[in-house]
Amino acid sequence: MKRWWLRGLRPRLLVAFVLVTVVGAAAAAWSSAGTASAALVSSAQERLTSGLTSQIGAITPQLAFPPDQATLDRLRGAAGANAVVTYQGLRSSAGLEPATEALRTAVRAQHRMLTERVDVGGAPWLVIGTPVLITAPDGTRTPSGIEVYSAEDLTAVNQQVQGLTTNAVATAAIALPLAVLLALLAARSVLRPVRELRDTARRLADGELAARTPPKGADELAQLTVSINEMAESVQTSMIAMERMQADAKRFAADVSHELRTPLSTLTAVMEVLETAAGEMEPDAQESAQLAITETHRLVRLVEDLMEVSRFDAGTARARIEEVDVAAAVRDCLRARGWTGEVELSAQEGIVLGTDRRRLDVVVANLVGNALRHGAPPVAVRVSAPGEKVRIEVTDHGPGLSEEVLPHVFDRFYKADAARVRTPGSGLGLAIALENVRLHGGTLIAENTGSGARFVLELPRENR
């Protein structure tokens, strides 16, 4: 969940837009406010210096030279409230000394007007320093040695500059919601097609292969939509072809087994006649009859299993749910097949389960028959009811299931060993057992115990 707020496209676009707007507005405001304030300050400075120059220029012709203290005081009076006038040792001051030593030295050395900005108690001041020049009748100007320093308060100008900055910030702030709105609009125009594509992809994944998104416009998203539609089209086409082939194959198996049933009915009917008559036959005819009988029984079993599998494939298999005493059902199953002596049954009594009696019998018979055929004794069957489930475990003490066999043990007609002697089973027994378990919403797994194989059947207590 790190940086969750940057996960969606919308917040990312929003953040990017706002950042760009804020930085842009701030830069513009900062630069324009800077330029404006510089212009303000320089014009104020010019106004003040020219004012001082003209005031001093108006009064100097009336002054005696060299000046005495009174002359300096008059000059200071003309220069303004916060002025200081000096001449060699003499000095006229209102008590303030705004000019720094550096300014004074510079004015003395350069003999021209200089300015300096100082900070007095947090307020900005402009200090102007100028030498008073004597103009000779021939026009040459020489420094008189009198220096005038005047300080002017710049607070008003500064306030004007601050006003400008505040204005710029306010303008930027007004731009912010506008930027958010624009970002949302932009995000929506990008996100809507993306979201539609996502929904379509999800429907496709859920198996709705006809799902498409109509492409809008001609941008990259529209191209992506077209590509996805093409992909869905080709997936749908091949799925339909595959499903049809599969359905054909399944229907073929169902039809074949159905067609086989009629001749098998005749064979089944007459085999018993043959069996009772076999005693009077020649030995080779008798053996032939016996082979025919055995193979007919096997054929019947195979066709019945094939039809059962076809019903699962066609989805027409239905469970006929009844209340069944599991321990009694397992016991009956073993007894009916003469396995009671070969199998160790430990069953918890009194477990009643809503299940299909015949199908449960098929599953148990297949598992136990399998254990007896391929495993080794002792074969143990355990019936228990842990939690909301009913568990039937069939364990044998044979060689167990090899790594290659284990994943295929429930496959149809899977032969662990190609050269294996044919067994009485149809090769469909475990596949049918698994389908029956699934029909009941249960699970059936095969595993090795280390000393044999174990099949664990679990059925939910609450059956739909």
């Binding site: 009915s265 089944t268 009917a269 018993e272 019947v300 009844e322 015949r358």
Partner: protein
Amino acid sequence: MVAILLIEDDPLVRRGLELALSRHGHAVRTAETGEAGLDAFAASTPDLVVLDLMLPGIDGFEVCRRIRRAGDVPVIMLTARGDDFDVVGGLAAGADDYVIKPAQPTVLDARIRAVLRRTQGSGEGVRMHGDLRIDTASLTVSLRGEPVPLTPTELRLLLTVSRGPGRVFSRQQLLEEVWEHDYLGDSRLVDNCVQRLRAKIETDPANPVYVQTVRGFGYRFGPV
């Protein structure tokens, strides 16, 4: 010698079953269509009918219904495994039992004999329950003095449950006692037969007095 009418359309299956059932000591007559079967039935009433449900012309269900209307001759049908539609439809049409195809003659013979045994009385006397009179010797049942015609299976079911009024019989027990089925018997046989029996002896079959349902367990007779 039991007179059996076998109605089956496939000639080889028909001949095979005829051979096998004859070998079990039955007198078998055959018919290849429903119409021919009904004609043979009308010409001479057999002791029992073995009926294939898949017939050209009028189908097995209709043949079964007409035989039922004509009397109480037991019907055993031949159905495909897993074809619940056949089983349910056949039982609703009034069949007494069914055998799954391909039918083993031994199994079919066992069912035939079980059905015919249902007409044997216990001969202990007459049971009176309310308006219902059950004569276990002559195997007749009458309601308010009127005789009630019951098929052998319905009769055997009534005799079995009325043997112990108030006692609960599970479907499994009834399947074993009345139908002589093994532990995998189809409980729908019981439910269907109970319904048919109720239709004949109960005043209000929806609120039965004689054969009552015990939910989750089975059925009991009365108490009246």
